[in-house]
Amino acid sequence: MSQSDIAIEVRGLTKRFGDFVANDHISMQIRSGEVHGLLGENGAGKTTMMNMLSGILQPTSGEILVHGQPVHLASAKDATRLGIGMVHQHFMLVENFTVLENIMLGVEETKGLGVLNRRAARDKVMALSKQYGLAVDPDAKVGDISVGMQQRAEILKVLYRNADILIFDEPTAVLTPQEIKELLAIFQRLAQEGKAVILISHKLNELQAVAKVTTIIRRGKVIDTVDTKATSTEKLAELMVGRHVTFQRDRVPMPAGPEILKISHLQVVDNQKVTRVHDFDLTIHGGEIVGLAGIDGNGQSELVRAITGLMPTAGGQVTIAGQDRTGATPRQITRSGVGHIPEDRQRYGLILPMSLVDNMSLQVYTVAPYSHHGVLNQKAMVTTTEQLLDQYDVRHSSIMEPAGALSGGNQQKLIIARELSREPQLLIAVNPTRGLDVGAIEFIHSQLLAARAAGHAILLISYELDEIRQLSDRVAVIHQGTIVGQAKTSDLSESEIGLLMAGETVPGKEEMLHAD
């Protein structure tokens, strides 16, 4: 296979949604045997373009050529037939099917008479799983497995269909650093085998690690295609947002404020009677950001749900600004000045079919001026929504459009705008910048620091160690449902945090880590 083999090419590809131009005459070429990065701000039109390549959306105008042949992709089936496979930004698995059933879905092999040939399918899946190091449990229900395994199932689904043009839309947004490393290796492996890999990511270091070239799009237009390794991170960021982006965060020293959140001996048991959080103690003061580091699945989700009233506690106490809020309802907790940027934006954070106005009003619709005696004040809702969408640069075409029509990053920005605008004295932020572009991250980080400067307390839970280290005054590490160490951020190196996350001890620092 020669280097110049163009797997897929688009010419003048344009997509309009009503008056809104999401893709504006995009032309680009993607070669077999390499990873092609795609970079662009939230709402730049990356997902839209990829949906056209995978037959889910039809272009308004323009051409798509696969291996030099113009094609018409009327449906995802057409794309599959031409060897194009896509792993979507928001997964598309059927929750109550098993991994194997999900992989087979749509291309079921039968033994005649419509009897599924599971054996053959399973063998093929297991072979692929081994070949690429994509560990999955084929018989587990998708609803029960971790996001990482769901991701691997999605990739197997594409490989199972023998795709040789693979599209990954922000595949690493939900993965842990270790999983990301493995995934990037798989991308390189796929490219070496001669497949064309398109990788959309907001993480510039990932693109620099694997993408030979990167195409940058801004507001639906191609800005440039660059040699990724020869281009600095700063330059990539600048090309993408059209201005200089800083990666440095200024965290000015703050005097410790009053105690805002105090969690003592918290215990949380899930409905399968498994103890998820135990003997959990944590205190956060006003003007302080505490970063909670930990590997996904060590009780973070349950901890947050218990503090915010979405899940019952089995023991211990949660005190917010001096008031006992153990077992309070979500509304009581919100009313006591707590903001919550949830982990799963589409499950908890938004009601996708409802309008941007409704979604922006979700936490305040019961209070004046948004309603009086149970009657909504649409005007006040609209005014606030317009102002916040503008302030947080949520790219949208109409305030009445459903939240589901926003790009992934813009959905996240809407939630952040809603939660921060209430000026909560305690903000619980779980992966707040997941899926945001570097420009948006810079802005959100500055907003979090501003909240800190205003004397608010922030519990930051993030799988991005960099983010935790940049923003937090103090780092606490959670392992198997309890805190295994905490210290001033400057007192812990990244690798020391890593050790704690893995449940190990940090030689020489045992004393300090349990000082609190």
Binding site: L57, A76, H90, M92, V94, L310, T329, L352, Q363, A405
Partner: protein, 382 residues
């Protein structure tokens, strides 16, 4: 202008379904050797050809508007209220019993009292299902079906044992001052059974629209129906919301029953089957895709078909059941259309539970996902 397209999309579904339904009816008539054109003409004249016919059509539509609204409200909360018929029957029984209990009360007390009794009875009946669902997770589909039967047999027992005179199978007629039918309206419509209930139905349309669009309760009902987790996150009590939606739904169905008791029949009889306004209301709501104005139009269409249909068998030898086939075909096509759309959504975005698409009060809910809007956009572009 996508929102507009979506409205048109739903209207389009309803209109094509009606046309296809009429076509299927025509084909069946042809196959059975009847003349469809002749029959449809007699259906039409039978439905709108005289003031009497128009009065009957509107009378037929009156309770259907109410049960249709009832279905739509529950459905917005993600609830499939199959119990409209039982709730309507409870309302019917309560309103007639109330009117019979105070034969000498003045009309300005007795009539509103009887209407209110019907509404409350319907609400209580659906409230049971709402309560069981909210606190025990019992499927409303099953509980409402069972409650339908309880309502039917309990009503029959009460009518026979308590209301009927002697060995009769029906209650006495309600006092004049409790009746919704008046000589004025009878005169106006050449002795049709048209009654004042239509005003109650139209008022209910406005109230339900206002409630769902303009109040915090409506906001909560819509939110819970579309995403229960996010609703809890936003501090809504899903239990309270589910029960409220069910109470409102049953209240409307109960009103529908009261219209039959105080307007159409003016008494209550021992029934062999549940009143048809329950299931017809469901169909009306589905055809209207849950929109309040759509429900009025769909209910009138049902009235036209049912009343006009009577004329088919008067004017020819075609059996009257042909109209039922047409109605069934219309509903079938509405359903088929939604199933196609629903599968479309499922295939594109299967990992999230979708809100019930059948009949949402917020019309855009039915076409919420990007993929699907995209599909619409795709059509627009071709």
């Amino acid at each position: 202008m996508r929102i507009k397209n979506i409205h048109l999309g739903n209207l389009w579904i309803s209109v094509t379904s009606v046309i296809l339904g009429l076509l299927v009816g025509a084909i069946i008539m042809l196959l059975s050797g009847f003349n469809p054109i002749e029959n449809y003409i007699s259906l039409f004249t039978g439905a709108v050809g005289s003031p009497n016919a128009i009065g009957e059509v509107l009378r037929e539509a009156t309770p259907l508007i109410l049960t249709g609204l009832g279905f739509a409200v529950a459905n917005s909360a993600g609830f499939f209220n199959i119990g409209l018929a039982g709730q309507a029957l409870a309302g019917w029984l309560a309103s007639v019993s109330f009117a019979l209990a105070f034969p000498h009360a003045p009309g300005f007390l007795l009539l509103p009292g009887a209407i209110l009794a019907g509404a409350i009875a319907g609400a209580l009946w659906s409230g049971i299902a709402g309560f069981l669902r909210a606190y025990f997770g019992a499927s409303e589909v099953i509980t409402t079906i069972m409650l339908n039967y309880v309502a039917l047999y309990a009503t029959n027992a009460i009518v026979k044992g308590m209301l009927a005179k002697g060995d009769g199978d029906y209650s006495p007629t309600i006092p004049v001052q409790a009746r919704l039918r008046t000589p004025f309206l009878e005169h106006l419509t050449q002795n049709s059974t048209f009654h004042w209930g239509i005003l109650i139905s139209l008022a209910a349309v406005i109230v339900v629209w206002w409630l769902m669009k303009k109040t915090t309760l409506g906001f909560e009902i819509r939110a819970v129906g579309m995403n229960e987790d996010a609703s809890r996150y936003a501090g809504m009590s899903t239990k309270r919301t589910i029960i409220s939606a069910m109470l409102i739904s049953g209240c409307l169905a109960g009103l529908g029953g009261a219209m039959e008791g105080l307007g159409n029949f003016q008494n209550i009889i021992v029934n062999t089957a549940l009143p048809s306004i329950g299931f017809d209301g469901m169909s009306v709501s589905l055809l209207a895709t849950g929109s309040p104005v759509g429900i009025v139009l769909a209910a009138i269409l049902f009235g036209l078909l049912k009343i006009g249909g009577l004329n088919i068998s008067i004017a020819s030898t075609t059996p009257p059941e042909i109209v039922d086939i047409v109605i069934a075909a219309v509903i079938f096509f509405v359903g088929a259309n939604y199933i196609i759309r629903y599968l479309g959504i499922k295939l594109h975005r299967p990992s999230k539970p979708q809100p019930p698409v059948a009949a949402n009060t917020a019309p855009q809910a039915a076409v919420d996902t990007r993929a699907e809007q995209a599909a619409e956009e795709g059509e627009d572009n071709q």
